[in-house]
């Protein structure tokens, strides 16, 4: 890529970072819209989930909006999730509602909505992983633990 005045609009390798979970063996890719890249104060991360594990165990909320996307890792059929994901949501932090996701799905997590555990329960074929995307609107990611929630087994 030759030197260009417009290079500021391009970030190579999408800011590859080490993942937070040992079960995710491939680099996580991230896009952060900071001051030098649009200043929209959001981050988008995406990764391939090749085996079952509990990604986040603790029920929590944030003071920012977040979107979670789950789609299939088979390039010819992304709406087919290729596995089972369980996600718990709660408005008040007390009544916990567990959702079972088996198709391509988006979850809107508004500020204050309690969420998790997030459990990748089943991956049908590691070569056709679940593509998980996490889009959140803050430059400072902080969890607010739900102190009233019981741990889910």
């Amino acid at each position: 890529m030759p030197k260009s005045n417009l290079g500021k609009y391009i970030r190579k390798t999408a800011s590859t970072k080490e993942g937070h979970h040992k079960e995710v063996s491939t680099p996580r890719l991230t896009l952060t819209s900071d001051k030098a890249f649009g200043n929209r104060e959001f981050s988008l991360g995406w990764q391939a989930i090749t085996r079952p594990f509990v990604m986040v165990a603790e029920n929590h909320s944030h003071d920012f909006d977040q979107f979670l996307f789950f789609s299939g890792g088979e390039g010819t059929n992304m709406p087919d999730l290729g596995g089972v994901v369980e996600l718990t949501l709660s408005k008040d932090g007390k009544k916990l509602e567990k959702f079972t996701i088996t198709e391509s799905t988006c979850v809107f997590v508004p500020a204050g909505l309690y969420h998790c555990p997030l459990n990748f329960k089943k991956i049908n074929d590691p070569k056709k992983p679940i593509i998980f995307m996490n889009l959140y609107f803050t430059s400072n990611y902080k969890k607010i633990p739900n102190k009233s929630a019981k741990k889910e087994k």
């Binding site: 391939a48 992304m78 979850v107």
Partner: protein, 140 residues
């Protein structure tokens, strides 16, 4: 997933038909409309398996857009396994062609001319995501 109070936060299987004949799979998509956050963005993602010119005409918008390209190879999301060319221009006259071979994000601010967008070489599927901050997509 019926009578749960928080069901309004979950949208199953949002997908649409592809806009290009070269893209043969349904395209997952999300719109943050009034009933889904109202953050005024739209996002979709699709896999590219064959070389083709996705958009030939340079154009711009009134809204910012982010285009991301990564590999769909789960063992190596970073190396594209292909070559993408995209042209950018601030004034619509001096056109600068960029060649992409690794996972890359393009920030297209409002007013920046962009395209042609050419998937020049594809040796393994490429995952393309398009995130733009507008409820209505209009080219200029």
């Amino acid at each position: 997933m019926a009578a749960l109070k928080t069901a309004k936060y979950v949208r199953e299987a949002p997908a649409r038909k592809p806009n290009h004949k070269e893209v043969t799979t349904m395209v997952p998509t999300i719109t943050s409309d009034e009933s889904f956050g109202n953050l005024g963005f739209h996002m979709y993602w699709q896999t590219i398996k064959v070389p083709f010119t996705m958009a030939s005409e340079p154009h711009r918008h009134d809204f910012p857009q982010y285009l991301t390209f990564s590999s769909f190879d789960v063992d190596d999301l970073v190396n594209l396994g292909g070559v993408i060319e995209i042209t950018l221009s601030e004034d619509g006259k001096m056109m600068e062609k960029h060649t992409i071979t690794k996972a890359t994000t393009i920030y297209v601010p409002a007013g920046l001319y962009h395209n042609p967008l050419v998937f020049k070489k594809v040796t393994k599927p490429i995952l393309m995501m398009d995130l733009y901050f507008s409820s209505k997509y209009e080219r200029k």
